[in-house]
Amino acid sequence: MLLCGYMAQELITISEAAQILGVSVDTLRRWDKTGKLNPIKTSEAGYRLYDRSQIELYLNDLFVFAKEWVLKDSEIPSKFYCSNSAAFQTKLTQMQDLLMGVAELSSTFPLLVAVAGEIGNNSFDHNLGSWPDTPGIFFAYDVHKRTIVLADRGLGVLATLKRVRPELNTDEQALKVAFTEILSGRSPESRGNGLKFVRKIVSENPISLLFQTGDAQLALAKEENDLNIKTSSEPFRGCLALISF
């Protein structure tokens, strides 16, 4: 009976914790210094150790909700769902008003809103009239935990970019083009440069981004030029983004 409330700790390294959270090791070190997220203990050799359940809890339910939705079309709370672009604009403006009131975000909140806006609007712009099943996006934020989560069950970046870059074959290639190549005078559609904007903002500000489409997952953080693209063991068709700030 004494063990009823006991949960065994599963200690993980800072690299493993960073991978789960989709942030860089340097970001986790910074979070430790600022007290945003501290390791559960330090090893004798001085390495930071985290509890896996602590990290998963930190990610919070928002990301879990979104991931389950893109993977399994599971039910999501209606307050996290925007069925159309106008609903998204309304919720985005509400988030803007909330972030505007946070003193330490006074210089960066327009950038956070613009980044979330570009990712969410991309979903609507690229899937309008082509949603494979559930239209609309998942959009939720937690100002206390400093996270914003967006997801869609759309065509995904590869299928969208293939319209103008038919030579692309993998999700990784598509993700790389989407985040790095400026597409000028694209025909028949001019849209598609928003993710370059997202990358620039993240690289210059205390913001990190985890973005997955298909089986390709990217992790961006401040002052990191590498896209850190890896293959995910849980592929899905649309897009999933976690912004931490």
Partner: protein, 96 residues
């Protein structure tokens, strides 16, 4: 002619809204006389993004070239958006 962009909204984010704003702006543009500059003022705009900017500013840049003048602003989302639009259009904005 000086135009305050906040009249189109303070959160200028989506392509759809950018297109609608550009269409709504056309009657005002017809009042612009030959060789008159078109000055756009960002004062009061809270969030600005490349999607809205590409639909509104890019066609104005093509049409008016150096006659399009953007008023200087400290808003980081405006600055970052203008930098990207300059790369996309391969032309620099005239900023005053």
């Amino acid at each position: 002619m000086r135009v305050e962009l906040k009249k189109f909204g303070t959160t200028l984010i989506s392509r759809q809204n950018g297109r609608e704003s550009f269409a709504a702006f056309q009657p005002q543009l017809s009042a612009l006389v030959e060789n008159e500059n078109l000055e756009l003022d960002f004062e009061g705009v809270i969030t600005f993004s490349p999607s809205w900017g590409d639909e509104f500013l890019s066609p104005l840049l093509k049409q008016y070239g150096p006659r399009l003048i953007l008023m200087k602003t400290g808003n980081p989302s405006v600055k970052a958006t203008l930098e990207l639009l300059e790369k996309i259009n391969r032309v620099n904005f005239k900023i005053s």
